[in-house]
């Protein structure tokens, strides 16, 4: 009898710990029943491609959320960083090689992809640094600070480019990252996402920076009183978030073979939704990025299934929203149960 209950509780706890894997498994079954083509290699490839951009942004958002901040500027940074990188690279080429790479008003690039890619990542980190400084040194809450920087970047990228899309069609090496498929099945960008995610998961758990970010997010006052430079670790978390945005925008450019300034997709909200689905607590200091990676897969499969089932984008928005609400409620009920077990009174 006792054996039985312990077995039951073990199953229950395993299920609770691997809840997201169960969701993914259920989704695969549902997807296959709706449309057998769901499990075809081509469709799986589509799902993996869909994972990378949202996944990398959600990783960045997770890091920001863990440090008890929020970054609403990632959508704007996703185009502002590569845009400024392209213009900086163009300036460098014109100045040192006397050969501009951005061809006049046509928006075609004639070379310099690697410089652009490197500068993109550097600028994205710099944007994160700026966000961090505004939040910590100017005391502006991150919610407002990053909305402000997002407006600034959105406006400036239109001012600088005059809304002109930039194309990499003429540079063959530019498509390597985004378009390569290993064995014709697994996109290279998905591998990049996987490696980045695992590295971040490792770094957050095993390095000083990671542990400090968790500590600062969990209880800033306690972290400061135990001698941590909370401002510095907050800035680091924004910079890590910027790094993720930088990698995402390089992959994005490479996949799209160009850069369109007027991106209107709600990247910020998607990334927050994915991070929260993955169990990152919005009140900071809790959750891990494995959850975020699983949630990325869940969202990609969900949207794909809805597509295959013939739903339009409006229905997709409604269904995604419902799932976010349900998951939020689920996580909260689980946390409330934990607090009741600890006999804490929840207000």
């Amino acid at each position: 009898m006792k054996q039985n209950t312990s077995l039951a509780s073990k199953i229950q706890s395993t299920a609770a710990n691997n809840f997201l894997w169960l969701v993914i498994a259920a989704q695969l079954v549902v997807g296959y029943t709706i449309n057998p083509l769901f499990l075809s290699p081509l469709n799986l490839k589509v799902i993996l491609f869909a994972c990378t951009l949202n996944g990398l942004l959600a990783l960045g958002q997770s890091i920001a959320l863990i440090s008890r901040e929020i970054d609403l500027s990632i959508g704007a940074a996703l185009v502002f960083a590569p845009m400024s990188a392209i213009y900086a690279a163009n300036f460098l080429y014109t100045y040192f090689a006397a050969q501009p790479i951005l061809l006049g008003t046509t928006g075609f690039m004639s070379g310099g992809w690697f410089l652009v890619a490197i500068l993109t990542v550097i600028f994205a980190i710099a944007i994160g640094f700026t966000n961090g400084v505004i939040v910590t040194k100017l005391y502006v809450p991150s919610f407002i600070a990053t909305i402000g920087t997002a407006f600034f970047m959105k406006g400036m990228s239109n001012v600088i480019t005059s809304g002109q899309p930039i194309s990499f069609q003429d540079i063959p090496e530019a498509n390597f990252l985004g378009d390569t498929e290993i064995f014709g099945l697994i996109p290279l960008s998905a591998i990049v996402f996987l490696i980045t995610g695992l590295t971040i998961a490792f770094a957050l758990k095993n390095t000083t920076v990671g542990r400090r970010i968790y500590a600062v997010g969990g209880n800033r006052q306690a972290a400061r009183l135990s001698g941590m430079m909370t401002d510095r670790w907050t800035i680091y978390s924004f910079m890590l978030c910027g790094l993720m945005v930088g990698i995402a925008s390089v992959l994005f450019m490479s996949r799209a073979r160009g850069l369109d300034i007027n991106q209107n997709a709600p990247f910020e909200l998607n990334s927050i939704a994915i991070a929260i689905m993955g169990g990152i607590s919005i009140s900071g200091g809790r959750g891990n990025v494995f959850g975020t990676m699983q949630a990325t897969l869940i969202v990609a499969i969900l949207l794909n299934t809805l597509n295959l089932a013939g739903f339009g984008s409006y229905h997709q928005a409604a269904v995604t929203g419902t799932i976010i609400v349900l998951l939020a409620v689920f996580y909260k009920i689980r946390e409330s149960k934990r607090m009741r077990d600890l006999q804490l009174i929840e207000v």
Partner: protein, 321 residues
């Protein structure tokens, strides 16, 4: 000695829960504007500022109530879209009915948010991001992505939303009325005051017997109602109701509330402050528009200015400590 004086000045600015600071910022902006921008102080220009931003101001008043209780509602824009689109279905049969439907839908959306946030106690940012998608999806689904033109055929709505009294646009008068009424509510009645208490210290409020769930639900419902009203004002002003009418308005509303001195952490701010915040944002946008930088430069500068203004608030709060 000098730091002592700075602290005293900063404390003096605490008057009226941030109203003093917001008025000061507004004053500085207005002085700058009337010196630098030639046509700023023209009566028509002032009236335009008030007309354009009052609808968002009405929404921000509701949002301010939610923010006072320490929560946030990012779904206000979608509530606006959904309630306007549902009410347009009834527009041709009876205008009064459609206005009632408008408010009822807004209230129901607010109630859903409020129940999820207050009863389940899930974080409001998460919940309202979810309901943002749900409501905006539904607003397109209920009308099959069709437009509705709000023309002379609907005299009641146009009369309510577009008329002028004493040279002031009616939208501004509603905004003013709502701001004063909610200010009296939150500062002079026991139930209204408890919004501040819940936001400032939830545990203390709970211990002193305040029904936190009820306070939060009421705040969300009022927020939903005000969002729906502002939606109809905007629809009447631009003469067309489309299902993405509220998209992005949540950012404007949050910006107005924050510029008016409402704290994102709850318990601080006032609805009269929101009124000044509304005018501040209006004046800011107007200065940038009249200085002919171009609309994108305007967006960029607006972002920088919002950060600067919030910095001033936080500086004052820190110095007053």
């Amino acid at each position: 000695m000098a730091s002592n004086q700075i602290q005293r000045i900063a404390r003096a600015l605490n008057v009226g829960n941030g109203i003093a600071v917001s008025l000061l910022i507004l004053l500085v902006l207005i002085v700058v504007a009337s010196v630098l921008v030639p046509n700023f102080s023209h009566a028509q220009n002032i009236s335009n500022i008030l007309r354009v931003f009052s609808s968002a101001g009405i929404m921000a008043i509701g949002l301010c109530l939610v923010m006072l209780t320490g929560e946030i509602d990012v779904s206000v824009g979608s509530i606006m879209s959904l309630s306007v689109m549902v009410s347009t279905i009834f527009l041709d049969s009876n205008e009064i009915v459609s206005l009632v439907v408008l408010v009822v839908v807004g209230a129901i959306c607010g109630l859903i948010n409020g129940i999820l946030v207050a009863v389940v106690k899930a974080p409001s940012l998460m919940i309202t991001i979810g309901t943002l998608s749900v409501f905006s999806g539904l607003s397109t689904i209920v009308v099959n992505a069709q437009y509705k033109y709000i023309t002379e055929a609907y005299p009641v709505i146009l009369g309510v939303a577009k008329s002028e009294f004493f040279g002031l646009p009616s939208a501004f008068l509603y905004c003013l009325t709502f701001a004063i009424l909610t200010w009296i509510w939150t500062n002079r009645t026991a139930f209204g005051k408890s919004m501040y208490y819940v936001g400032a210290n939830k545990r203390a409020a709970f211990m002193s017997g305040i029904h936190i769930v009820r306070v939060k639900i009421v705040a969300f419902v009022v927020c939903g109602i005000l969002a729906s009203i502002s939606g109809m004002m905007i629809a009447a002003q631009i003469g067309r109701a489309k299902s993405d009418i509220g998209a992005g308005y949540e950012v404007t509303a949050i910006a107005i509330a924050v510029l008016g001195g409402t704290s994102l952490f709850g318990g601080r701010g006032s609805t009269l402050g929101v009124l000044t915040g509304m005018i501040t944002l209006g004046v800011m946008t107007n200065i940038l528009a009249l200085s002919r930088m171009g609309s994108y430069m305007e967006i960029a500068m607006k972002g920088a200015l919002v950060i600067a203004v919030v910095f001033v608030y936080e500086l004052q709060r820190r110095l007053a400590r």
